[in-house]
């Protein structure tokens, strides 16, 4: 591994602030991981996502995994978060991110993508889905990821 941090303190602060605002706006905890991923990024992201919440089936959470070396990004949402952030909304956020990434703007792409996801989720505890207690899901394993 190279010496030094991948991002400057200012860049980290921008990312931290974007996640904080997204969480404040939507009430959904967001986590970002940037680094190399071994194997299938979708499976790796879902497995990591399961460790971020107490009950992955009921608690909302969003994990964004970016592997700059492999040039791939994965947005994973728990079933509860998926009710508020549809796969289509995730796809649009992913597209916004990759558009910026391809221009070399990693931090800008992440902040705009995070903002899009928070806006797609809507304000915290005001949407009907957020106010309803989460029911056990009967959805099949895996997610129909558009990509």
């Amino acid at each position: 591994m190279a010496t030094g941090e991948a991002f400057s303190p200012e860049q980290l602060e921008r990312l931290d602030r974007a996640l904080e605002q997204a969480e404040k706006h939507s009430g959904i905890p967001f986590t970002l991981r940037v680094g190399a991923v071994r194997g299938d990024i979708r499976l790796a992201a879902e497995r990591t996502l399961s460790t971020l919440v107490g009950d992955p089936a009921r608690d909302p959470a969003v994990l964004i995994v970016v592997s700059p070396g492999q040039r791939v990004v994965r947005i994973s949402t728990t079933p509860a978060a998926r009710k508020r952030i549809s796969n289509t909304a995730s796809s649009l956020a992913s597209l916004a991110m990759t558009s910026s990434f391809s221009l070399g703007d990693l931090v800008g792409g992440l902040t705009s993508g995070i903002r899009q996801l928070a806006e797609a989720a809507g304000p915290a505890a005001t949407t009907p889905a957020a106010l309803r207690p989460a029911a056990p899901t009967a959805a099949p394993a895996g997610s129909p990821a558009p990509h």
Partner: protein
């Protein structure tokens, strides 16, 4: 700004030395400059300014700190987490598949 400062650092002593020379002729009939003096003032000043600017740029580049990730290059850094890391959450949780999870992927 640094270039101007560098030029000033170089030219002020040269002009001062020239002005303080004992024999510079009169106000109406100044002594002609030698070829060496002419090249020193008009060529050396410019070349010296560039040299100082290059040195200053190289020096500030070396002081710019650790290597950051540059888009397009291979990722050779440790993982960066923003938000809560799994290790920071109380109680060890087993990694498992999440039925009904959603999301999307993309590449560039």
């Amino acid at each position: 700004m640094l270039t101007v400062a560098g030029l000033a650092m170089f030219t002020v002593p040269v002009f001062a030395a020239t002005a303080s020379a004992a024999e510079i002729g009169t106000k109406y009939n100044p002594d002609p400059l030698t070829v060496l003096q002419t090249w020193g003032i008009y060529g050396g000043t410019i070349a010296g300014g560039f040299l100082i600017a290059i040195l200053l740029a190289a020096w500030s580049g070396r002081r710019s700190g650790p290597t950051r990730y540059r888009p397009g290059q291979a990722w050779e850094h440790d993982d960066v987490w923003v938000g809560k890391r799994p290790e920071e959450i109380e109680g060890a949780r087993e990694e498992k598949a999440v039925p009904g999870a959603g999301g999307a992927s993309g590449n560039w």
